[in-house]
């Protein structure tokens, strides 16, 4: 078969691993002692040896790999779809289907595909070969090609019309060469070729098993680049890259899995009751009942927080600061303790970090004047080393110049004020006042739900919104 796009240098593409595995499996099926039971098949007057029934194949798979029947059926189907086993009974059957029901599986007899037709990925099926095959089929069936084959034929004729002489010559000669064999062999070889082309040029509607998704293609391409196959020379550069790669791998911080898993378990147990999917949400799931009270009550700026929300503030300091309501209450608490400037400073630093680039110098200056200068109105207590570093950095202000100071204050609040807050009366009152929404009453007849109306499209004018039909009724 023509090499087609493969270069003359003898470069081999990597065979995809699942195909190699299938090939190994098929070879082990051939084992005279432990392989699949073979029998002869009689087709009119010719007798063809080495036939296997689908049932035999399945039994062998189950026995050899200790798998369930379902899995064996799936494996068998894969083998047929990739063309390693082919049926001889329906040579005009265009679709390569392995019938699912056990009864028909039994009746269908299969043969192993010749190894020539296995190497589809190492040498991809070329256009010239397909053209020759179609021409042969044309001759044999006297113009009786199927629709999609006719289309392919015309397409190929347009593409490679300059070699059409060769196509016709080769097709005729190959058929004549085949006639020299006995009839059974001729039949078998014709069927093998037909299977090969069914796999490589599947008819429309049949998914191609040789397709690779775009991600997988690039992944294997990358791997083949890096792979030290026998074809890649190991230069100095290669070794240098390897050493660099391994050095980086050594330097990575690694957490022991016991520590990691403990933390994970703690997280899950702590958060379990708070998760709306795991523990349900009160009053009700808006997606199910169309009642959006849940969202209204948990809005970022809700006046009265729910109990679950208040409890979440006790999990970590970060939770408290991230929730606007929590932060506001924390600020109240700090005011009582006369250390509100810490939080203000922290907020100002956040603004600096996430604000616009143009405001950075002005903001840095303002922050310095307000919080850091000696004798400032709201002076924050930072240790001397951090203060020195910050003052040095203030000469060239950028958005991360106050990071050290911010972190210092953050840790201070976390270690000092935060535990006190959690133990304070303020927090306890909040917990007591927090609202627990009642669950919506379950209806006695659960299938009689409120009929759901699709909300009118915002693109429509309000006048015509009333004319919208109430589509999307809830299922009974």
């Amino acid at each position: 078969m023509a090499a087609g796009p493969a270069p003359h240098g003898g470069h081999r593409r990597a065979q995809r691993p699942h195909l190699s595995k299938m090939e190994r499996m098929v070879v082990s099926m051939q084992d005279p002692d432990q392989g699949v039971k073979m029998r002869s098949q009689r087709l009119l007057v010719t007798v063809i040896p080495h036939a296997v029934t689908g049932n035999d194949v399945m039994e062998w798979l189950i026995q050899k790999y200790c798998i369930t029947e379902e899995e064996a059926l799936h494996l068998g189907t894969l083998l047929v779809r990739h063309g390693y086993l082919y049926p001889l009974r329906d040579p005009c059957h265009l679709e390569l289907r392995l019938d699912e029901t056990p009864y028909r599986f039994q009746v269908r007899l299969n043969w192993e595909q010749t190894p020539y037709f296995w190497m589809s990925t190492l040498w991809p099926a070329a256009e010239l070969d397909y053209a020759i095959y179609l021409a042969k089929k044309n001759i044999r069936k006297r113009g009786g090609l199927v629709d999609h084959e006719k289309e392919h034929y015309d397409q190929l004729h347009r593409k490679i019309s300059h070699t059409w002489d060769l196509v016709v010559m080769q097709a005729r000669e190959q058929l004549r060469a085949a006639k020299q064999r006995r009839k059974g062999d001729r039949l078998v070889i014709a069927c093998q070729e037909q299977t090969y082309w069914l796999v490589n040029r599947p008819p429309p509607g049949v998914p191609s098993v040789l397709e690779q998704g775009p991600q997988r293609g690039s992944c294997t391409a990358g791997r083949v680049q890096m792979l030290t196959g026998p074809f890649q020379t190991k230069t100095v550069d290669f070794y240098r890259r390897e050493v660099e790669c391994l050095r980086k791998a050594l330097g990575r911080t690694r957490v022991k899995s016991s520590v990691c898993l403990e933390a994970y378990l703690k997280f899950s147990s702590q958060r379990g009751p708070h998760d709306p999917i795991m523990s349900g949400c009160l009053p009700s799931n808006p997606w199910v009942t169309d009642n959006d009270t849940y969202w209204a009550m948990n809005a970022p700026s809700a006046a009265v927080p729910t109990r679950l929300r208040v409890e979440q503030w006790a999990f970590s300091f970060r939770e408290l600061l991230e929730d606007p309501v929590g932060r506001a209450h924390f600020m109240d608490f700090l005011r009582k303790e006369f250390s509100a400037e810490n939080l203000s400073f922290w907020e100002a630093c956040e603004e600096l970090r996430h604000g616009g680039q143009a405001q950075v110098p002005a903001l840095v200056d303002a922050v310095y004047q307000q919080f850091l200068a000696p004798g400032a109105a709201r002076w924050v207590n930072i240790d001397s080393r951090t203060m020195e570093r910050t003052l040095v950095g203030l000469g060239r202000p950028h958005r991360h110049v106050l990071d050290d100071a911010q972190l210092h204050i953050y840790m201070l609040m976390k270690k000092d004020s935060y535990p006190r807050f959690l133990k304070s009366d303020l927090y306890k009152d909040l917990l007591a006042e927090a609202v627990v929404p009642p669950e919506t009453k379950r209806r006695v007849f659960p299938f009689m739900r409120k009929p759901r109306h699709s909300s009118p499209s915002p693109a429509l004018l309000p006048a015509s919104a009333s004319g919208e039909p109430s589509g999307g009724d809830g299922e009974a």
Partner: protein, 237 residues
């Protein structure tokens, strides 16, 4: 005439390539044997001889700048067919090499795939060599040496192709093939007729005429019978 000779040689090469393809199909299968490997070797050696001969004959006219346009077009057509054939041969040889290494004949556990093909292919090889029959004369360790030989031959063919590309410049897209789409359906049944010589179209009207004639006879017979009956009825009444 060189052109006729070239065409004849090309046909022979085409035949040899087709037979080689057919033989390579069965490597590693149940019909694989020492004989098959020997047949493969003989076929490909014949193909290579033919290739060398054709190349010698075709290169000279194509490098001759004084050739007429018609003649040149003809030779270019032959050239395109020849290089395509050679590509097919080389690819088949590579596959034969891979398959032969993967399915060695004399390994302790023969991993040959039971494909359902049983008979020998001696007649196929004989056809390729244009001989009546083939004698198998190889010794036991034949297939291992053959592999080395095959590797060398693949390299040789590769070099030949490269050389051809360098020496002769035939832009393939300008070549118009003589055969149109569907030309293979108009073949004459006799073997060995070259398709490049413009095969006469055989009219397959014989069977149609027969059936039509039969239908006509029956119809007329029925008509006559009806007429006779009517006459009898008329006479009686």
């Amino acid at each position: 005439m060189t052109k006729e000779e070239c065409k004849a040689l090309l046909d022979a090469l085409n035949k040899a390539t087709a037979c080689y393809h057919h033989l390579v199909l069965t490597i590693g299968g149940s019909a694989d044997s020492q004989n098959l490997r020997e047949e493969l070797q003989k076929t490909r050696q014949k193909a290579q001889e033919l290739a060398v001969a054709i190349r010698a004959r075709l290169t000279a006219p194509l490098r001759d700048r004084g050739l007429g346009a018609e003649e040149r077009a003809e030779f270019e057509r032959l050239w395109v067919a020849f290089s395509g054939c050679l590509d097919l041969l080389e690819a088949d040889m590579r596959r034969a090499l891979t398959l032969s290494t993967e399915f060695p004949l004399h390994a302790p556990r023969r991993p040959l795939v039971r494909t359902g093909v049983e008979g020998g292919a001696a007649s196929v090889a004989a056809r390729a060599l244009s001989a009546r029959s083939l004698r198998h004369e190889a010794e036991r360790g034949f297939d291992v040496e053959d592999l080395h030989q095959l590797e060398r031959e693949i390299l040789q063919v590769g070099e030949m192709i490269q050389d051809m590309e360098m020496k002769v410049n035939v832009p393939r897209w300008t070549v118009q093939a003589r055969q149109a789409a569907g030309a293979e359906l108009l073949a004459s049944a006799s073997a060995g007729v070259s398709s490049l010589r413009g095969v006469a179209v055989e009219q397959r009207t014989g069977p149609c005429d027969l059936s039509k004639a039969l239908a006509a006879t029956i119809f007329s017979a029925v008509l006559l019978a009806a007429v006779a009956l009517a006459v009898c009825v008329a006479k009686l009444s």
